[in-house]
Amino acid sequence: MDPLMTDALVIAAQTAFLIVIAPAVVGYVRLIKARLQGRRGATIIQPYRELRKTFRKGMVIAESASWIFHVAPFAIVGATTAAASLAPVVSTVQPADLVGDLFVLAALLMLGTFFLALGGLDPGTAFGGMGSSREMTVAALTEPTIAIAVLTLALTTGSTSLGAITGTVLKTPAYAIGPGHALAFAAFLIALIAETGRLPVDNPSTHLELTMIHEAMILEYSGPYLALIEWAAAVRLTLLLTLAANLFLPWGMATSLVPAALTVGLCAIVVKLAILGLLLALLETRVAKLRLFRVPELLALSFTLALLGAASSFFTK
Amino acid sequence: MEAAFSRITMTAASAMLLLALVVLWRRHAGAYITAFRTQSIALAVTGAVVASYGGASELFFVSFMILVVKGWIVPSVLSGMDAKRQSARELRPLLNTETSLLVSGALAVAAYEISRPLAEVMNLPTRGGLPIALALVFVSLFIVVSRREVIAQIVGFLMLENGIALLALLGAYGVPLIVELGVFLDVLLGVLVMQAVVYQIHDTSAD
């Protein structure tokens, strides 16, 4: 097969893999949290059942909603899938580098949030407005952290495209241990929590008006639309976890498209996701939700960490 | 003969300067008008003397004009103005007399200092009178500035004109005739217009 086809195949495979295991990752995190809280917890594949159920349900659309309400879920899915297609899952040989880099990925995620916020505003309820306003504020404040994290990676590895970063870090592990990467990793994790609405920033499992950010926007959605949005949110979480894993701890990724190396890469990514999921669940059981107007302080902390990372990688270069 | 001529012009000039000081010293409008009239006559006399000595024939006509216009017509106009105002009350000047006289003394010295280079240039016998003429110009300027009443200001202005005429007379035996006539016309018209405006001031301020 000519190289173009293989590239397309590799990208499609990686994206499909991410999309498929996304609900499982969410289920896994919920299971670990339940076990840590001494509950039995539902199985890992419970989210699949929920998605199938909501997918079959009828839909209730608000009167005041316009066509934006109908288009938003598809836009979110589109944006998140495009973002997922850029992510390096198993191999450092990343054909998607020709298409985009980390900034593009961040912008696509922001596009998803943009349409989610619009979908929240459209029905004209107080919750929708509150959710989208808070979601956009948090998203806006995480942008600098992501940018500086990318800068740190670019300073040490010389490029902002994902394949190049993972490849160089894999080749010279000294980078990964250096202060720059460590600080950037911590900052990236905090940004991840804020972006995906995990605990200290936003409680994913609550419907309490005052505390929910992400949930408030999708309050009006039902049926297949709700399923798509939930699925996209799951893909978003998995995507960010994969990025956290592969950009900062790329060990085990395949350096060539040989099937053997790919399978090793596959197992490596699953293991890493498991560890990170465990870490996330542990964090969520330990820490309580921050008041909304304390969240910017958390984001300021992550920004300073990233800046220190950038500065340190500058001087140790 | 030349020494006598220059001494005469010097005495006439200093007489005119003294008359200017009278305005600073006295308080009544009538005194101002008589001072001005005598000053104009003194100017006419100087003119005649210079005309006779310098041999400039048209200067005679000019000094006659000075006698007629500044010696007779203008003072009569002024006294007409003063009579119309009937209030012969004492006129309070801006500065008291002592300071006025001191200031005019200082001005005379300044005039003398300023006109020193002028004397070097001059070769006419009337060189000596120049600083006095300039002093007269400065003192009359001071009169116009420091006096509160309208009559005093007009007299000050007319004395200023006399000072300049004296300067011209002593400096270069008078400016060309056509300019001299123009100056007379201006002075006459000026006084008439001042009179008209002063009457209007009284009309508007009275009602």
Binding site: - | L118, F157, E161, V175
Partner: protein, 486 residues
């Protein structure tokens, strides 16, 4: 032939003045007749200017008259502004109901005023020039209290006294120079001729020449509204009837500056131009500062225009001191200023008549009540502010350019800042007049559009001057610069 042209230039205003003096009965008809006489002298002045622009020799008649490029330029300005003022003065406009006596006094003195200015500009004898300028004070003083208000009488007395005393100082300067020249043995009755003086100037004693120029600058500066001696100008120009203040602001100040320029040439030959330039710069800057800084807090719009004249005179005086380029710019500035200021004053007369009181706060909503007049006033104010389509924009750039070239970067920066303050203040005041709710009871709509049409002619001329200076004017200006800076 020269005699004919000079007669055509001078006699019309004089004859009209005497006619108005003689005929008592029908002042309105006299006014209309007067409107016909003034253009004759305008045409004559134009003819002289064109002749000089196309390389002709100065018009010399006998011992008294000599019109060179500089005088021709001034003559054209005087004649054109006088024609405007005479055409729009009392007695011609239909809806103005001023009494017969007022029309008669106006007609007499306005024409004499124009005549004296034309004489001042066209005579070669500097003594006669002084006499003519003194005569301008006398002839215009009686016109200021035309409307018999206490303030106008007071203003006229101030104008008369300060003007006469100032001019007397100028005469002292003239006499000092004359004494100096006579001492060098020049033939007496031609000693005060400008041409003779220029030749004899090399023999002048430097000290005396400096002293004389100080007196002359203060004397004629009073008439030109230059810095410390400008105090009479705001009262006189704001109280005078607008046609008169248009002539005074537009050209009388320029004539006084012309006299300073004439004497500057002579003193430059005697002492070198550094002395006169420095004095002119000091006085010019002081005037510009006084003019531009006091614009913001004015409450009457005619006083605002008076202070703007002071500002522009300061700029022109500053320009005169900056070598040939600066002189060219200064003369262009005087031309532009004459047009712009006279139109704005005449328009402000109409506004004063319409709104009753001269205060800016009382003339709100002008754009709503009289749109055409408002647009013309706005155009005039823009011209005075130095905005592009109008001539003053070019001259201001040239003056600043000349200032820098003449080696005064700091002073020119100060000029730039002052120009900015002046522009801002003018605009603020204009906005107070144009916008807002017009006070109740003010007649709406435009009237006497004939006058508005006539007044749009100078505005169009100004715009044309701003875009491209016509060739004859360009030649005339450069020849006039040759007169001042040989």
């Amino acid at each position: 032939m020269d005699l004919m042209v000079v007669l055509a230039l001078l006699t019309p205003p004089f004859a009209a003045g005497v006619l108005a003096l003689g005929v008592r009965r029908a002042p309105a008809r006299v006014a209309w007749l007067n409107v016909l006489t003034m253009p004759i002298s305008l045409v004559a002045a134009g003819a002289i200017a064109v002749r000089l622009a196309t390389g002709g020799t100065p018009v010399v008649v006998g011992e008294v008259w000599r019109i060179d490029a500089l005088s021709a330029l001034l003559a054209v300005l005087i004649a054109s502004v006088a024609t405007l003022a005479v055409a729009l003065g009392p007695g011609t406009a239909r809806e103005e109901h001023s009494q017969a006596a007022e029309i008669r006094t106006f007609r007499i003195y306005v024409n004499l005023f124009a005549f004296t200015m034309l004489v001042a500009v066209s005579t070669v004898n500097l003594g006669l020039m002084w006499v003519a300028i003194e005569a301008t004070t006398v002839t215009s003083a009686l016109l200021i209290p035309l409307h018999r208000t206490k303030a106008s009488v007071d203003a006229s007395w101030k104008y008369l006294l300060i003007g006469s005393v100032g001019i007397a100082l100028a005469f002292t300067g003239t006499v000092l120079a004359y004494v100096d020249v006579a001492a060098t043995g020049v033939d007496i009755n031609v000693a005060l001729h400008w041409t003779a003086l220029r030749e004899a100037a090399t023999a002048l004693h430097p000290q005396v020449a400096r002293l004389a120029f100080v007196f002359l600058l203060v004397g004629f500066g009073t008439k030109a509204g230059l810095a410390p001696t400008h105090t009479w100008l705001p009262d006189a120009h704001s109280e005078a009837p607008s046609p008169l203040s248009a002539m005074m602001s537009g050209v009388l100040l320029a004539v006084a500056l012309y006299a300073v320029a004439r004497w500057k040439v002579i003193v430059d030959v005697a002492v070198g131009s550094v002395f006169t330039d420095s004095l002119l710069i000091v006085v010019g800057l002081a005037t510009l500062a006084v003019g531009s800084l006091s614009l913001l807090s004015q409450t009457h719009f005619k006083r605002l225009l008076a202070f703007s004249s002071i500002e522009h005179m300061g700029l022109a005086c500053f320009g005169l001191a900056l070598g040939p380029l600066g002189t060219f710019a200064a003369l262009l500035h005087l031309t532009g200023h004459a047009l712009a200021k006279s139109t704005t004053f005449l328009l402000s007369g109409r506004v004063l008549h319409r709104f009753g009181s001269g205060t800016i706060s009382a003339t709100r909503g002008l754009l709503a009540t009289a749109p055409k007049t408002a647009v013309l006033i706005a155009a005039g104010m823009f011209a005075l502010g130095g905005l592009p389509p109008f001539g003053l924009f070019l001259s201001e750039i040239l003056i600043v350019k000349a200032g820098w070239a003449a080696g005064h970067p700091l002073l020119t920066t100060a000029v730039l800042i002052l120009l900015l303050i002046a522009f801002g203040s003018l605009l603020v005041q204009l906005h107070r007049m144009l916008f807002g709710e017009p006070p109740t009871g003010i007649a709406q709509g435009e009237r006497a559009s004939g006058a508005v049409l006539l007044l749009s002619v100078p505005v169009v001329l100004l715009a044309w001057l701003g875009l491209s200076i016509p060739a004859p004017l360009q030649m005339l200006l450069s020849k006039a610069v040759m007169v001042i800076r040989p």
